[in-house]
Amino acid sequence: MIVFRIGGEGGEGVISCGEMLTLACARMGNEIYTFRSYPAEIKGGYAMFQVRTSNDILLSHGSALDVLVCFNQEAYDRCIAEMRNENSVLIYDSTSCHPKGDFKGIAYGVPASDLARLEMRNYLTKNVIILGILSKLFGIDPNILEEILRQRFGKKGEAILNLNFQALRKGIQYVEQNIEKRDHFLVTEQQNDNRIVLSGNQALALGAIAAGCRFYAGYPITPATDIMEFLARELPKYNGVVIQAEDEIAALSMVLGASYTGVKAMTASSGPGISLMAELLGLAGMAEIPAVIVDCQRAGPSTGMPTKTEQSDLNHALYAGHGEAPRIVMALSSVEDAFFGIIRAFNYAIRCQVPVIVLSDQYLAQRTATIRRPDMSKVIIEERKQPSAAELEHYKRFRLTETGVSPMAVPGEKGGVFTATGIEHGEDCELSYEPDNHMRMTQKRFKKLELVLKGADLYRRHGVQDQEIGIVGWGSSEGVIREAVQKANDKGLKVAAFHPKVLFPMLPEIGVFIRSCKKVIVPELNFTGQFAREIRAKFGVDVISYTKVAGLPFTPDELLEQIEKVNDQYVSKVK
C-alpha cells in the first residue's frame, strides 16, 4: 500500500497529474482511493491530490504519506509534517522547492520546472514530466500512461500529444540517468477482475440512470456540476432530458413539473442552491410529488469554501422550509454507495411520494475509488403506485389509505384528472381550512415515511460484536471510521461502528446500538454536532459529539486517537 500526495499551485497540473497517476494504478489492477483539495478560483492558490493505492480493499485516503511530490515550496511546507516515517519518500521540484533539514526520509530532487521550461520549452509539461519520474521510480507501466495521455490529449492534435509523450519520456530518462532508487515502494501489477474506477459524482449519476431517472434539471455549482455534465452526456442516449435551469429554484420547479407527469426526476446542487429550494421542498411534500435532490455539501455557510468538504447541511436537509412537510434524508457513504444509494433514493421517493434529499459532500463527490462492478440483476427498481381502473371511477388523488400513500394518476390518464396544490386540501384536492382535515392530512403525509424503515440496506455495522465503544457517524466518513475501528480492534479495543444510510426518519436500530455501548462517539464534519443533537433528542441518550470544521475529511488516525481517548477516559476506568 502506498499513499501518494502531489501538491502545488492551482493551474500547474497538480490535479491532472494525480488523476493520471490514479488511473494508471487502477489499470494495473490496484485498488485506489483519492482525495483532492483545491482553491475555489480557476487559477492560483494551493492545490493537492492524494491517492492511496493497494492490492487490498481501501477504506479511506489514509492518514500518513508515503510519497510526497512537491511542485513548489508551499506544498512542502504544508505537507512535510504528515510524512509517515523515515522510509517515506519526498520528490521535489528542485528549482522551486528547497527541503529543510527537518525532513528525515528519502528525498529525490528533480529539476522538473527547468526540464519543462528549458528542455521541453513548455512550462505546462511539468506535470507530465513528473508523471514520468513517478513511473520510473515506482514501476508504473509507461504504456498504460501513454494510453491515458492519448485519451486525454488525443483530441487536441498530434503535436500536443507528442509533446506529452516526450515529457513523459523526459521524466523517465531523468530518473534513469540521475537517480538511484533508495526506497522500497513499488506499484505492482495485480489480477483484479470485475472492478471499476469512478468518482462519487460519476457513481451517483450512473446510479440515477440505472434507477430510471429520465429527467434532470440543475444549475452549475461546485462540487455538484460533474453530475449534470455526466448526465448531459449520457442521459440523452437513454431518451432522457437534461435542462440547465436559470437557477436552482427553477431547477427544482422543473423537476416537480416533470415528476408530476410520472417521470423519475432529479436535481443536484450544493449548499447555496439547496438553500434556495426550501420553499419548493414544502410544495413537493404537500402536493406529494416524488423528487430526488442531491446535495454535494461544501464547507461553510453562504459561499463559504466551495471546494472544501463539510457535513454541515444536515440541519437544513432535515428542517428547511416553513411548516412541516415530510421528506426523507439519506447520506451516501462511499463511491459504491453513491451508485446503490441513489437507486434507493429514487425508490423511496416513488414509494412514499416525497422529496428525498441525498447528502453527499465534496470529499465523496470528487474522490475516485475502485469498486466492485455493480451487478444490475440484483438491483430492485420500484415504480409509482398508480390507480386501478376501479379506483379511477371515483378517483381521489389524496385518498386516505393505511400506509398514507395514495395512488397517483398521471396526465394523459382518463378519469385521473386532479389538481395538485400546495394549499391544504381534502382527499379530492378540495381546498380545506378545517381543523380536522389539516390534522388528518398532516398525519397522512408523515405516516408514509414509515415505509422507508421496512426496507433493506438502511445501515452498515463494522467492528466487533461485543463493543464497549460505539461510533455512529454518517455519510462519507464511513471508510475512515471503518479503518479506525479496524485499527482499534487490532489493538484490542472493543469498538464497533453503526453507520446509518437513512438519517430521517431516524432508524430505531440506532437506539438499540447506542444502548448496547458504554459510550458512543458521533464524529461529524461540522461545528455544532448536528447528528449528535438529533440522536440525543430521539433516543434520550447522551453521546460524545466529535466534530471537525476545517474543510477537510477525518483521517483514520485522528479518529483512532479519539477512540483511544474515550477508551481511556470512560471505558478502561470503568472496568
Partner: protein, 293 residues
C-alpha cells in the same frame, strides 16, 4: 368604448359550443365581477372549440386569485407556489411533450416574484401558452399595487402614492423574443378566446397578457374600456420593431396579436439533442459501467 358589463361571465358562449365537459363542480372563489371569470370562460371556449380532451391538458398556475383557475377546469392541474409557474410548466412539457400545457396566473406572480423565469422560458421557446391575468394589484393579499400599477396609485403599501414607473410586459416580451405576444381584455371575451386559441395553436411560447380587472381592490373596467382599441389588420406581427412600437404606445391600449415569430420549440430542440446523442449509440447501463473499467 365598451361598457364594463361586457366583462361579466354570464355571456352565453357561441351557439353549439359545449363548454360543460370542461367545467368542474368547484365554485370559483372570485368576487362578483372579477375579470378572471371572463378569462375562465374564454379558456372553456378554447378547449371546447379545439376539442382538447381534459386528460391531455395540464394547467399550471402560481399563487394569487387568478392562480386558483386550474381547479375550475376539468383538466389536470398543478397549483404550485408563488412565481414558479413557468419552470414547473417547462418541466411538465419537456417531460411529456404530448400534453397540452397552459400556464396561468396574476401579474404579481408573473412580473414580480416570477419575473426572472420569463426570459428563460422565452429563450427556450417552451411550447406553452401563458395567460397572465393582469389587474395591476396583488388581489389575494388585498390589493397592494403590483409592478404594473399606475403611478400615484394609493394602496395599503403605498399610502402616499406609488411613484415607480409601471413595467411594460408587452415590450419586455418582445425584447425576450417570446414567439407569440398578444394582449387581450377579459371584457372582450370573443376576441380574447380567439387570442387564446391562437396562442395554444402556436408552436412555442405564447404570452397572452390579459387586462383582467379586480373589482374589489382596483376596478379599472371604465378606464380600460375607454382606452382600448383593436390593432389594425395592417399591423405585421412578424415585424419586431413595429411590434415594439405598439408596445410603447401610451394613449390607447392596443389589443390583439402584437408579435409573432417562428422557430423551433423547446421540446423539438430537446429531440434534436436526443437525435444527436443517439448517434453515439443507445444508452446501456452495462456498457456504461464497463467504460469505467
Amino acid at each position: 368604448m365598451t361598457a364594463p358589463a361586457e366583462a361579466s361571465p354570464q355571456q352565453s358562449p357561441k351557439p353549439g359550443l359545449n363548454i360543460a365537459p370542461y367545467k368542474t363542480d368547484v365554485h370559483p372563489v372570485w368576487c362578483p365581477g372579477c375579470g378572471d371569470f371572463g378569462v375562465l370562460t374564454c379558456i372553456y371556449r378554447m378547449l371546447a372549440t379545439k376539442q382538447i380532451s381534459p386528460e391531455q391538458t395540464v394547467i399550471v398556475s402560481g399563487i394569487g386569485c387568478s392562480s386558483r383557475l386550474p381547479a375550475y377546469v376539468n383538466a389536470y392541474g398543478f397549483h404550485t407556489v408563488h412565481g414558479r409557474v413557468l419552470p414547473v410548466a417547462t418541466g411538465v412539457k419537456s417531460a411529456n411533450p404530448k400534453l397540452e400545457v397552459l400556464a396561468v396566473g396574476g401579474d404579481g406572480d408573473a412580473y414580480s416574484i416570477g419575473a426572472g423565469h420569463i426570459p428563460h422560458a422565452a429563450r427556450r421557446n417552451i411550447d406553452v401558452c401563458y395567460i397572465v391575468m393582469d389587474n395591476e394589484v396583488y388581489g389575494l393579499t388585498k390589493g397592494q399595487g403590483s409592478a404594473t400599477a399606475p403611478v400615484e396609485l394609493v394602496k395599503g403599501t403605498t399610502p402616499f402614492g406609488q411613484l415607480d414607473e409601471p413595467l411594460n410586459p408587452i415590450a419586455m416580451a418582445i425584447a425576450y423574443n417570446i414567439s407569440f405576444v398578444a394582449r387581450g381584455y377579459s371584457g372582450k371575451p370573443k376576441e380574447l378566446t380567439e387570442l387564446i386559441i391562437q396562442g395554444v395553436e402556436h408552436n412555442g411560447f405564447a404570452l397572452v397578457e390579459v387586462l383582467s380587472p379586480c373589482t374589489t381592490f382596483h376596478d379599472t373596467y371604465k378606464p380600460i374600456s375607454q382606452r382600448i382599441r383593436f390593432i389594425e389588420p395592417s399591423h405585421d406581427p412578424t415585424d419586431r420593431l413595429a411590434a415594439m412600437k405598439l408596445a410603447f404606445e401610451k394613449d390607447t391600449i392596443p389589443l390583439g396579436l402584437i408579435y409573432k415569430s417562428e422557430r423551433s420549440s423547446f421540446h423539438e430542440r430537446i429531440q434534436m439533442t436526443l437525435d444527436r446523442a443517439a448517434k453515439k449509440g443507445a444508452g446501456n447501463v452495462e456498457k456504461t459501467l464497463d467504460s469505467f473499467k
